[in-house]
Structures are given as structure tokens and as C-alpha cells.
């Protein structure tokens, strides 16, 4: 891909350059340094901010930072309590982490599209893709983790026996339909992480692509188009983070519920 990018010129070259991650290694052992770097930095930012708020937390009248953080906590807690009726120490922090982290991923999209890559190229970095959620590895990392948790909780709450029974006899409770049930459940379970990851990836990838296309237009047209798109994008990035969080909660609550 990198060689292609060098070869192509003009608009195609520009786009391909922007979509090429900074990577080391070959084949499966490739590491996307930009994705890893930015997601780690954003995760660190999130954790630092919330940890600071937690350290300064008082039960007196809250300050601005604490107010904001508490608002987030309340918001996530409400979402969790709305759809999750079990008792879990993990699920609320997980939801908070997903929402904030994905939101910060997506927020990188609102930086001027050439700003960070330009700074990078001055520093001698040839490729820089700043939005981690336009990397399938980042979105799949989230959704596969969630998928593992789904399986884990299914096994933990229902036990291996009940879980297998659910896979074999749900939705059609007849021994003749066992193969069909297996197929159906297989698709259903597999669809969860794939749809989670691809929805986020697709939205952000497309958004980024449109920013690139706008950037290719004449200079006088760019603000007219990129401003409304950026404003619209504020909605999209929040919505995508929210959807990811809510679906995670819903999937995990389904894992906690006994079979019908």
C-alpha cells in the first residue's frame, strides 16, 4: 500500500497518503504506530482527567471539573441502569471508558485534516493517520474485547450447560432444529462484534474521507463545506460513541439474563 501511495499523484495520491497508517513490521506483525500512539495518548488524557476529578472529589458543592465528570458518571450510570438489571462492578466503568475513549478517538476527526500530518512530516514522519477509529484494528479491538466479555458473562452467569442449551435450543425448541439454531446463534453472536466495529469504523472513515474530498476543493469553497460538515460531525462522533456504549451495555445485559 505504501508503495502505491508513493506512485500515485494528485487527488488519489493525497487521499491514499492520508489513509496510510504509520506502520512498522510486515504482514500480520505490522504495528500501526499512529493508532497505538494516539489511542494511548487519548486514553491517558481521559484517565488523567477523571483520576484528577476523583482525587479532588468532595461531597460539598462541586467545582467545574467535578461537575462535568459527575455529569458523565450520572449519564453513564443512567444508561447502565436503564438496560442492565444485574449487579456488576465492571459494566459501568466499562461503559464510561468506551464512551469517553471512542468519543476522543472520533474527536480527532475535528482537527484540521492536514494539521497533524503536516506537523508530523516536519518532524520526519511520512504517514500519520490521527483518527484511531478510522483504523479497523482500533474498532475491532474494542468490539472483540466486548465480545469476549459477552462470552465470559454468558458462561459465568448461565454456566456452560445452560449456555450450550441456549445455543442449541433457542430460538426453536425442537431437537430436529438444533443445526438451524446453532447456525442462527452463530450468526447472531458473530454479528455483534462485527457490527459494532464496522459501524464505528464506517462512520468515521466516511467522515474522514469527506473531509479529504473537501480539502481537495478550491480554497474558497472549503470553509463553506467543511464548516457544516464539521458541525454535523460533532453530532456523529458523539452519537457513535453513545451507540457503541449503549450496545455494549445491552449485549452484556443480555448475557446476564437467563434464557427464555
Amino acid at each position: 500500500m505504501a508503495t502505491e501511495a508513493h506512485a500515485a499523484e494528485g487527488a488519489t495520491g493525497y487521499i491514499i497518503h492520508h489513509l496510510t497508517p504509520l506502520s512498522v513490521g510486515e504482514g500480520f506483525w505490522t504495528l500501526h504506530l499512529d493508532t497505538l500512539f494516539f489511542s494511548a495518548v487519548l486514553g491517558g488524557l481521559f484517565v488523567w482527567f477523571f483520576k484528577k476529578a476523583a482525587d479532588n472529589a468532595t461531597t460539598e458543592v462541586p467545582g467545574l471539573v467535578q461537575n462535568f465528570v459527575e455529569m458523565m458518571i450520572e449519564f453513564v450510570d443512567t444508561q447502565v441502569k436503564d438496560s442492565f438489571h444485574g449487579n456488576s462492578k465492571l459494566i459501568a466503568p466499562l461503559a464510561l471508558t468506551i464512551f469517553c475513549w471512542v468519543f476522543l478517538f472520533n474527536f480527532m476527526d475535528l482537527f484540521p485534516i492536514d494539521l497533524l500530518p503536516a506537523i508530523g512530516s516536519v518532524m520526519g514522519i511520512p504517514y500519520l493517520r490521527v483518527v484511531p477509529s478510522t483504523d479497523l484494528n482500533a474498532t475491532f479491538a474494542l468490539s472483540i474485547s466486548v465480545f469476549c466479555l459477552i462470552i465470559f458473562y454468558n458462561l459465568k452467569i448461565k454456566g456452560l450447560w445452560n449456555f450450550s442449551k441456549e445455543l442449541l435450543f433457542h430460538p426453536f425448541n425442537h431437537w430436529l432444529l438444533i443445526p438451524f439454531n446453532i447456525l442462527l446463534n452463530f450468526v447472531e453472536y458473530l454479528a455483534k462484534p462485527i457490527s459494532l466495529a464496522l459501524r464505528l469504523f464506517g462512520n468515521l472513515y466516511a467522515g474522514e474521507l469527506i473531509f479529504m474530498l473537501i480539502a481537495l476543493l478550491p480554497a474558497y469553497l472549503q470553509p463553506v463545506l467543511s464548516l457544516p460538515w464539521a458541525i454535523f460531525h460533532i453530532l456523529i462522533i458523539t452519537l457513535q460513541a453513545f451507540i457503541f456504549m449503549v450496545l455494549t451495555i445491552v449485549y452484556l445485559s443480555m448475557a446476564h439474563e437467563e434464557s427464555h
Binding site: M1, L19, G25, G27, F28, W29, T30, L31, H32, T35, L36, S39, A40, G43, F46, V47, F50, K51, A53, A54, D55, A57, T58, T59, P62, V69, E70, I73, E74, D77, K89, L90, A92, P93, L94, L96, T97, W101, P132, D135, L136, N137, A138, F140, A141, L142, I144, S145
Partner: protein
């Protein structure tokens, strides 16, 4: 655009983030929130209780006021009654005293009349005697007629 080892790196980062949030962030903030909720609820409950107490106190004060009013009116009635009685009594006693005084005065007057009658009688007698004496001096012996004069004067 391929899945590669980055995925594993991202999963590790994700797991670390979740662990950190679960361990150090969520419980602290949530506890603070719960604590504040509790405090607010307590404050509200206390306010409500205070209001209830005020109502109760008002009721009690009203009751006390009513009893006090009742008592005072009772006292006033009683006092009026007593005053009336006293006035009546004093009227009676005054009347009695007056009657007594009048009676005494009458008695005294009677007595005085009697006395002056006696005195007058005696004086008249004496005068009569003197007159008789003077009349009789020339004619009769004083000793002889003394007996007769006294007899008459005692009959007066």
C-alpha cells in the same frame, strides 16, 4: 487496511484503561455522588421535619392560647361574680349598720326624752314644792305637809 498485531496492542490498552477506571476512578466518583445524594436527602428530610415541628408547635401554641383565654375569661367571670357578691354583702351590712344606728339613736333619744321628762318632772315638783312652800310658809308647817308633797311627786 488490514487486521494485524495493532489489534492486540489496542486490546491491551483498552484492558488497562478499563482496569484503571474500574479500580481508581469509578468507585471514588460514584461514592462521592452517592454521599452527596444522601446528604441532600438528609437535608431535605431534616427541612421537612423542621416544618412539621413548626406546624406542631403552632398547633400547640394555639391550644395553649385557647386554654389561657378560656381560663382568663373564667377568672374574669368569677371575679365579677365575687365583686357582685361583695357589693351585695357590703350593701346588706351597710343597711344593717344603718338600721342598728337608727335604732340606737332612737333608743338614745327615748332615753334622753325620759331623762329630760324626769328632770322636768323633778324640777316641776321642786318648783311646785317651792311654790307651795312659799305659799304654805305663811300658813302651814313645813314638816307637816312634806309627806303629802312627796306622795304627789312620786305619782307624777
Amino acid at each position: 487496511m488490514s487486521i494485524n498485531i495493532t489489534l492486540i496492542g489496542q486490546i491491551i490498552t483498552f484492558a488497562l484503561l478499563i482496569w484503571f477506571v474500574m479500580e481508581y476512578v469509578w468507585p471514588v466518583l460514584f461514592a462521592a455522588l452517592e454521599e452527596r445524594k444522601k446528604k441532600i436527602a438528609e437535608g431535605l428530610a431534616a427541612a421537612e421535619k423542621g416544618q412539621e415541628e413548626i406546624l406542631l408547635a403552632e398547633k400547640k401554641a394555639k391550644g395553649l392560647l385557647k386554654t389561657a383565654k378560656d381560663q382568663s375569661s373564667e377568672i374574669v367571670t368569677l371575679a365579677q361574680k365575687q365583686a357582685n357578691e361583695i357589693v351585695e354583702e357590703s350593701k346588706n351590712s351597710a343597711k344593717k349598720e344603718g338600721d342598728r344606728l337608727i335604732l340606737a339613736a332612737k333608743a338614745q333619744i327615748d332615753q334622753e326624752i325620759q331623762q329630760s321628762k324626769d328632770t322636768l318632772r323633778k324640777q316641776v315638783a321642786a318648783l311646785a314644792v317651792t311654790a307651795a312652800e312659799q305659799i304654805l310658809t305663811a300658813e302651814i308647817d313645813k314638816n307637816k305637809h312634806q309627806e303629802i308633797v312627796e306622795k304627789i311627786s312620786s305619782r307624777l
